[in-house]
Every structure is written in structure tokens, then in C-alpha cells.
Symmetry: C2
Subunit: 66 residues, 2 copies
Amino acid sequence: MIKNKVKVFRVGNNWTQADLASQLNISRQAVISIEKYKYLPSLELAFKIAKVFNSQIEEVFYEEEE
Amino acid sequence: MIKNKVKVFRVGNNWTQADLASQLNISRQAVISIEKYKYLPSLELAFKIAKVFNSQIEEVFYEEEE
DNA sequence: TATCAATGTAACACCTACTTTACTAAATGT
DNA sequence: ACATTTAGTAAAGTAGGTGTTACATTGATA
């Protein structure tokens, strides 16, 4: 399973879900869905997310069993 | 635009598209479609691709203007 | 030239990422 | 208590990724 640290990064930057959504040009629901693992973002969106957090994709998304 | 070096890595390993496809458990057409930019792979598939090439996602996929 | 392996194209179907809208709920402050 | 902000759920729709099947093309080699 591919997990992520989106919420960790987001809260670390003091951003609300709406803040992050507008920076990514996606809906707030998309942010919620990613944080709550309702679905995996596309590769393109994963790139954008890593970018706004000044990180590599692997720092934000990572594989973990279970 | 998100480009990739899948073909470079694949040929570097002396793998045919069919070889790579079977290692990734996807169809040969999916490999073709990614190499020819018919579509972007999902994040999960991008992870698998980076893995079979013993690389980071950013080494295989990268953003480039135009 | 005939054959075979590797690569490519096209069409169809399916699933899922993502949007939009609307509503609920929890937390915080006044 | 009330209002506001933030987070969460749910349903319907659109777009695009992915699989499948079938056929075409190129290149190498016998």
C-alpha cells in the first residue's frame, strides 16, 4: 500500500486543506481523499504535491505493507 | 509535461517491452503507451517501474517544459 | 525472399482520479 | 449559546489510465 505524509507536511506548514487545495489547483475534496486514502493521486498530482512541499516524491509517498 | 526514461532504462538492461511488461505485471501495450507518451502511468505503476530499475521515481520520471 | 522477433497502432471497455454540490460535525472563540 | 472555521461524508458526473484483442510494421537473419 502506498502511504503518504501529506497531512504531516501540510500541518507542518500551517496550511488548511483548503490552502493546500488552492495551491495545487485541485478541489478540497481531493486533498481530503488523498489524506484519508480514498484514492491515490495521479503521478502528475504527486509531482505537484512534492513540489509545494519542496520534497522528492519518495519523501511524501512511500510503500508500506498492510 | 512529465517525461520519462523508461526506454533508456529498459534498453540499458537489455529488456524487450514484453520483458518489462511481465516484470511489472502489466500488458505490453501499457509499456508502449508509457514509452510513447500515450498516457501517464498511475503513481502506483510509477513506483513499480522505479523499483525494477532500482531507481527513484524522479530518476525515471521528470518534468520538462514544451 | 520468407520468417520471426520486437515494436507499434487502433478500438473498445472498464475502473478510478478528480470535480461539483450539498450536507454534517467537530473545534475554537466571542 | 452562537458563529466561524476546519474537517469529513456522500452522490453524481467527467476524464483519463489501464487492460484486452487484433492487426500492422520494421529489422534481422537464414
